[in-house]
């Protein structure tokens, strides 16, 4: 369990809770994340909508750095958007020799497209990680009903994202089940949350969050687990606003799946930044930690 690590910019800002909980969990289960030295932003939506080469170059540079620094390690990426951007670059590099030569020209660095890029859902659902998680769960979240939200970019486009099912992925469900929480069967696991449109085109993006929350609630979820800072932010930020504007009664705290892992492993909610969410997420966790904790 050793990976070269691309944290992504959000980890330093909006994704604090993700960052804290990742550090807590990886330390507990003995997963080593070696941060790529001098990594740069994946470019997010801004880069690929400006220039395909810009997006390719930004990500290829990071991949080339990783290849040079940790030639034997896979590159683990916690954010869905970064994951998609890096994998697209890898996919390009592997598509043909000509393409690879073009990339090398673009970044003016040696790069061979050797190292695999994997999502955090993949790193945590490998057997050794699952085993280590099981062994470290000391405060099971017994009975907490969680809708696992994967977002669109961890599974689409299928030929780039892989390896889980596009419509009904199960990796996060399986990981979350280890905490003693119950993952609910719901229909919006891989529907888009609106992504960066929440900044530029709110009118179009907010209804997307609305339908995700509605389906989660209809299927009995008490919380949503995410694996992407932007997904988490969008679902989190808009919930209170929707309740106010539309009169809905959503009460579904949004967590990173690593927060749930961390807390089931004994972290206090504050230790991993649970109080940092927009929509109050602390009280639900406290309720379950008391309930679940008594079983230990």
């Amino acid at each position: 369990m050793k990976y070269s690590y691309f944290p992504g910019c959000a980890m330093k800002g909006a994704g604090k809770a993700y960052d804290f909980s990742i550090k807590y969990v990886t330390k507990k289960i003995g997963m080593e994340l070696l941060e790529i030295d001098d990594w740069n932003c994946c470019g997010a939506t801004a880069a690929h909508s400006t220039s395909a080469d810009l997006a390719l170059g930004l990500n290829a540079r990071t991949l080339a750095l990783a290849e040079a620094q940790y030639p034997d390690l896979e590159i683990a990426v916690p954010c869905a958007a970064c994951y998609s951007a890096l994998r697209s670059a890898l996919f390009s590099a592997r598509s043909s020799k000509e393409k690879l030569a073009k990339i090398q020209d673009l970044i003016e660095m040696p790069y061979e497209g050797k190292n695999e890029v994997i999502s955090f859902l993949e790193t945590f659902s490998r057997p050794d990680a699952m085993k280590a998680i099981t062994e470290n769960v000391v405060k099971p979240l017994g009975g907490l009903k969680v809708a696992c939200y994967y977002g669109c970019l961890t599974s689409r486009p299928a030929k780039i994202a892989g390896p889980d099912d596009v419509e009904n992925p199960m990796q996060m469900d399986d990981i979350v089940a280890l905490t003693g929480a119950i993952s609910v069967d719901w229909a919006f696991k891989t529907e888009c949350c609106g992504g960066a449109h929440h900044v530029s085109y709110q009118k179009g993006a907010v209804p997307l969050v609305d339908r995700i929350l509605r389906n989660a609630q209809a299927n009995g979820a008490e919380a949503i687990a995410t694996a992407c800072p932007l997904c988490c932010l969008n679902l989190d930020m808009r919930q209170g606003e929707l309740n106010k504007k539309n009169g809905t009664d959503y009460n579904i705290p949004i967590y990173y799946f690593t927060e749930l892992l961390a807390m089931s492993m004994g972290a206090t909610p504050k230790e991993v930044g649970v109080e940092k969410h927009f929509f109050p997420a602390l009280s639900l966790m406290e309720k379950y930690l008391v309930k679940g904790g008594s079983a230990v």
């Binding site: 099912d165 596009v166 419509e167 009904n168 069967d185 229909a187 919006f188 509605r214 389906n215 209809a218 299927n219």
Partner: protein, 1125 residues
């Protein structure tokens, strides 16, 4: 000199547009021996053929080259034409200027050059042709029809009506196929059953038709007119000559199995008829083998059987199932370590069934309600007397089985009470001894005499017993002495053996082990001793040399011991017993670490030097294994032991003495109760064989294990294993009251109903009791039937595509109310699971908004099949009509790509459906999801250019037809071909639609491609006509283009024999003259009837002794020369 005529065909413009015909004609005129050449617009037409015939006469031609299309197409046409002339039909060559020239080249000049070369080759070859004459073979006038759907039935009836014999083979237990599953048929809305069931009856009553259901074609040899087929009649476990179709067995069967005929929408029994109108109307049993619980039980108890009966509340029958194998239901239900549960398929999804506890419930329930009863002996009493030494589970079970057969059995027991280790080994808190006593009494009530306080070697001997008329002996004395620790000081007072300690306690002698007790060992005896000492007031520590993971004791026993307060010292072993004045005072031990795995895969303990420690102790109980007490037997004159000191006997319990048998712990070393019972049962069989001189199987009848994969269980609702109630923990620590209380009725039934019926049939044998005709054949096996046929018609039909893995966006099968069109047919069918009411499978309510989606899996290259499935537009319209007709105030939305209604009355039907109110939306559905009990369908109306959302109560997917499973294998057996989608290939799409490329094998119905019922029936009639035409001949002409051996050249090497795929070549002896001598030698010889003219032998023959007539070596060489020189 030969006289060759060359006839070049334009084929309309097919050849003429790609090849300069005039140049070909000019060139051909100059070829050697060509005396005449002409071109013709359509050579195959009547005037074209007439011109050739005229030229033959006019130019005295003796051979002909026709330059046209592929010989596949018209070679036979021109051969037939030559029959009416002076030329032998085989003095013909066809140069293929169409498929292999004009159609495939774009450069006309180059194509012309190629065409000239092709003609030159043909002319060179025909120059070497010789006249060939076909021989005759007989025709077997019996047809084999494979597949009993509407196509098969119609074909069979039409052939039978023409006066020929037909065998109709069907894989399912009834003929009828898919059509009988349907409700109504478009466009006339005829009841499907009303028009297809009479056909089924007609087939079964037709004197010329033999129906073979539950059968599959396994192998086919031979050729047109003379096929030989091997048909596998699968075991149905019911004698159909006796079955009356009364359904008594189905009423008796406790198993609820998936009803495949209702496509999983309903349930049926393990013994069943496919549907009420089945033909033949006889029951069959679905058996996939022995369920894992039964298979892995050492005694092969019918665990699945009694679980199934318990689930439906038939406890007495269930107890009867246990008693087929053993009377010890109550005992086993408490103490068995249940390998059945370890192998239970539910392990793959949640937790195993609590099989043992349910068995305990059966016994406890019978006792509580006073129905423990007596076990009846129905067998005739027999005179032979049998002696059993030892009244443990092995001895008593052997006595039980022999008593059931009517033998006189005496059991001799050394101890004051019967039961062996059950009585003196197992503590009361695990097994209430009243339960044991009552179950032993059941055996005594059957006439078995148990003599306690009678020790072999002391009170009795084999010699004396033989003298008293005992004819056979079963030694089952168990293993009642301990293995030694082999450490200094072991003989100190206060060191006791686990078995001795338990015996004392169990016989009520109240041993007093003192305050500090150490138990050495990690097996079940160690746990029993520890927990017993605890209850006697001691402070108990278990010393085990490996870690907990290696402990051989049952995990639950370890947990219970720990709960009650037993302490554990792992990785520690005694080195020396310390005593003061001969009285034990302490034990010096050493710490271990785990080393390499030993032969059994357990890691061996390795002492850590310097880690010695001393524990103070009042009693040390050694429980590291038991051994057989040999002294008594030796005294009785029995001395046969193996190298471990156990009694030497084989797997069938036989010893070297013919009348002495042995089993249980005494023979195997310490083992489990259920293994002892298995040994007792085996011994009983072995003894009966010995006494009666029979050779019946020793082991109970057992089919191969029926395993179920986790994937098959993914839709089984999860249900937790029943919780075992226990007495309060303080009572467990201080009293010998039974710790586990067993299940109440509700829990036991719920537990039994968790069974997933791995083998389907539970082998409870309730049907055997219920059947008055005695038609159940429990041990039936498949049968292979060989029969000759003249023709074969394949009518294997279709299956619907498995849409679930392809369409995750439609829920991938997770939403119960998203169903297929065929499932809808069952819902709307009066004989279906809802008796014709359209109800949602999820909650049995009537759907008001129904969405129908067409082209699911068809016309969708990315996900399913590229082709149009052809019938869906019409049955989609029919389904819409039925929804609107049957459900008041309903709305029906049909998402479509195109509406294709080619057929008589079809467009009108579609029009009426729209008038009924069906809303047709042009576009695909992109996603279906569940929200608040509704299925939200997100799609597109491409005519409006807008996204649409429909909240549906039910969604019907009109899915693509795909070929029936197994068709590829069948095609291989028959030597016919399939297309890339696995539909069977017809010989020609227009001219030979019901023939295959193998002569004598025909096709009809959907095995050839998707089609509706009218087209299927039309094809069936056509295939029958082809067969009838074939059968109108008594003899058939054979193809004369077969191999011929030139004896003079043949060296008899036999290389050709091995390479012939038709086994047509053999070596035969001939006699020839060499100088003045007559000598005999072997040469190859070709069977004219079997040879198919493939030419493999000709290629293999090194001396060039084999020629394929029509393709002789000489002919081929002439062709090569014509091309190359």
């Amino acid at each position: 000199m030969s006289r060759i005529g060359v006839f070049v065909c334009h084929c309309g413009s097919n050849i003429a547009s790609g090849v300069h015909i005039d140049k070909v004609v000019e060139a051909a005129k100059l070829f050697p021996n060509v005396v005449y050449c002409e071109d013709n617009k359509y050579t195959c037409s009547e005037p074209g053929q007439f011109k050739i015939k005229a030229a033959i006469v006019e130019h005295r031609l003796d051979r002909v080259v026709v330059c046209t299309c592929s010989p596949r197409m018209h070679e036979s046409t021109f051969r037939k034409m030559l029959k009416g002339t002076t030329i032998n039909p085989y003095m013909l060559e066809v140069a293929n200027l169409r498929e292999q020239c004009s159609w495939v080249h774009t450069d006309k000049d180059k194509a012309t050059d190629k065409a000239i070369s092709l003609v030159r080759m043909a002319a060179a070859k025909v120059n070497e042709n010789t006249s060939l004459f076909p021989s005759k073979i007989k025709v077997t006038k019996r047809a084999l029809v494979i597949g009993g759907g509407i196509a098969g039935m119609q074909t069979a009836l039409d052939i039978a009506d023409a006066g020929h014999q037909v065998t109709l083979v069907e894989r399912e237990p009834s003929i009828g196929g898919k059509m009988v599953m349907l409700d109504k048929t478009f466009p006339t809305m005829d009841c499907s059953a009303c028009i297809s069931t009479p056909k089924m009856v007609e087939c079964s009553s037709h004197p010329n038709i033999t129906i073979m259901t539950s059968s599959e074609v396994e192998k086919v040899d031979g050729y047109i007119g003379n096929f030989q087929a091997i048909i596998r009649q699968k075991a149905r476990y019911v004698d159909h000559s006796l079955c009356k179709g009364c359904s008594d067995c189905m009423d008796a069967c406790p198993v609820q199995a998936r009803n495949n005929f209702d496509l999983g929408l309903g349930k049926r029994k393990a013994v069943y008829t496919l549907f009420p109108q089945a033909v033949p109307n006889k029951a069959v049993i679905e058996k996939k083998g022995a369920s894992p619980c039964k298979f892995n039980c050492p005694a092969h108890l019918d665990a699945h059987g009694y679980m199934a009966l318990t689930g439906v509340g038939r406890y007495e029958e269930a107890l009867g199932v246990v008693r087929r194998t053993t009377p010890f239901a109550g005992v086993l239900g408490r103490v068995c370590f249940h390998p059945c549960e370890e192998n239970c398929s539910r392990n793959k999804i949640d937790q195993p069934l609590a099989i043992a506890t349910v068995k305990r419930f059966l016994a406890d329930n019978a006792r509580k309600s006073g129905k423990l009863g007596k076990i009846a002996v129905t067998a005739e009493p027999k005179d032979q007397k049998i002696a059993i030494i030892g009244s443990g589970p092995a001895g008593l079970n052997c006595a039980y089985m022999l008593a059931l057969e009517g033998y006189k059995v005496t059991v001799f027991e050394a101890l004051p009470k019967p039961g062996g280790m059950l009585k003196v080994g197992i503590p009361d808190y695990r097994l209430d001894k009243a339960v044991l006593a009552e179950e032993i009494k059941l055996i005594e009530d059957m006439g078995v005499e148990i003599k306690c306080n009678t020790r072999i070697g002391k009170d009795i001997s084999f010699k004396a017993l033989r003298g008293k008329g005992y004819k056979a002996f079963f030694i089952a004395i168990g293993a009642h002495t301990d293995s030694k620790l082999n450490v200094p000081g072991e003989d100190a007072l206060g060191v006791v053996a686990g078995v001795d300690f338990l015996r004392e306690s169990n016989l009520g002698n109240n041993p007093k082990p003192g305050k500090r007790v150490i138990v050495v060992g990690g097996g079940n005896v160690a746990m029993d001793a520890a927990r017993t000492a605890l209850r006697l007031g001691s402070d108990v520590t278990v010393l085990y040399r490996r870690s907990e993971a290696e402990m051989p004791a049952n995990a639950l026993e370890i947990d219970h011991a720990r709960e009650e307060g037993v302490k554990f010292e792992f990785l520690a072993a005694p080195m020396e017993i310390i005593s003061e004045n001969g009285k034990l005072s302490g034990v010096k031990s050493i710490r271990n670490r785990l080393g390499e795995p030993d032969a059994k895969g357990r890691r061996s303990p390795v002492p850590i030097p310097g880690s010695e420690f001393i524990l103070g102790v009042d009693t040390l109980i050694k429980a590291i294994g038991q051994k057989v007490v040999q002294e008594d037997l030796t005294a009785a004159g029995f001395t046969l032991y193996d190298r471990w000191g156990n009694i030497a006997a084989n797997a069938e319990t036989k010893t070297e003495l013919a009348d002495v048998f042995a089993g249980g712990d005494a023979q195997t070393g310490p083992a489990t109760v259920i293994e002892a019972i298995a040994a007792g049962n085996k011994a009983a069989k072995a003894i009966m064989n010995y006494l009666e001189g029979t050779e019946l199987p020793i082991e109970p009848y057992l089919m191969p294990e029926a395993t179920v994969e986790a994937d098959e269980l993914k839709n089984v609702p999860r249900a937790a294993r029943g919780r075992m109630p226990m007495i309060p923990i303080q009572d467990r620590r201080s009293t010998f009251k039974e710790a586990e209380l067993g299940f109440d009725e509700k829990t036991a039934v719920a537990e039994a109903l968790r069974c997933v019926n791995c083998a389907v049939c539970s082998e409870c044998r309730a049907c055997e009791t219920a059947c008055q005709s005695k038609a159940i054949l429990r041990e039936q096996e498949d049968e292979l039937i060989t029969q000759d046929f003249g023709a074969i018609v394949v009518t294997t039909g279709y299956e619907l595509i498995d849409w679930a893995p392809l369409y995750g966006e439609y829920g991938g099968g997770r939403y119960p109310d998203v169903i297929t069109g065929l499932q809808f047919e069952r819902l709307v069918n009066a004989s279906g699971p809802t008796e014709g009411h359209i109800l949602r499978p999820s909650d049995q309510t009537e759907p008001k908004n129904v969405v129908i989606i067409k082209c699911v899996g068809s016309r969708d290259e990315n996900k399913g099949k590229a082709y149009c499935s052809r019938a869906c537009c019409m049955y989609g319209a029919k389904h819409a009509h039925q929804v609107l007709d049957k459900i008041p105030d309903s709305r029906c939305y049909v998402f479509y790509m195109d509406v294709r209604t080619a057929g008589k009355g079809y467009e009108e039907f579609y029009g009426r459906t729209r008038e009924d109110g069906a809303m047709y939306l042009r576009g695909r559905v992109a996603k279906i999801y569940q929200e608040g009990g509704k299925l939200i369908c997100k799609g597109e109306d491409s005519l409006l250019g807008k996204a649409v959302t429909v909240e549906a109560d039910m969604v019907v997917l009109e899915t693509a037809m795909v070929p029936s499973p197994g068709v590829v294998k069948l095609a291989g057996i028959l030597g016919i071909s399939t297309d890339p989608d696995k539909w069977l290939n017809e010989a020609h799409p227009k001219l030979r639609p019901v023939e295959t490329n193998s002569a004598g094998i025909f096709l009809a119905g959907t095995c050839q491609g998707p089609k509706d019922i009218p087209d299927t029936v039309a094809q069936a009639g056509a295939a029958a006509a082809k067969v009838s035409a074939l059968f109108s001949n008594d003899e058939l002409e054979t193809n004369p283009m077969i191999s011929k051996v030139i004896d003079e050249k043949c060296s008899g090497c036999g290389l050709c024999v091995g390479c012939c795929p038709y086994t047509a070549i053999s070596l035969q002896e001939i006699e020839e003259r060499v100088g003045a001598l007559r000598v005999k030698r072997l040469v190859a010889s070709v069977n004219h009837a079997l040879c198919q003219g493939c030419g493999a032998c000709a290629g293999a023959c090194r001396p060039g002794a084999i020629d394929l007539q029509g393709f002789s070596n000489r002919q081929l060489l002439e062709e090569v020369d014509a091309l190359c020189l």
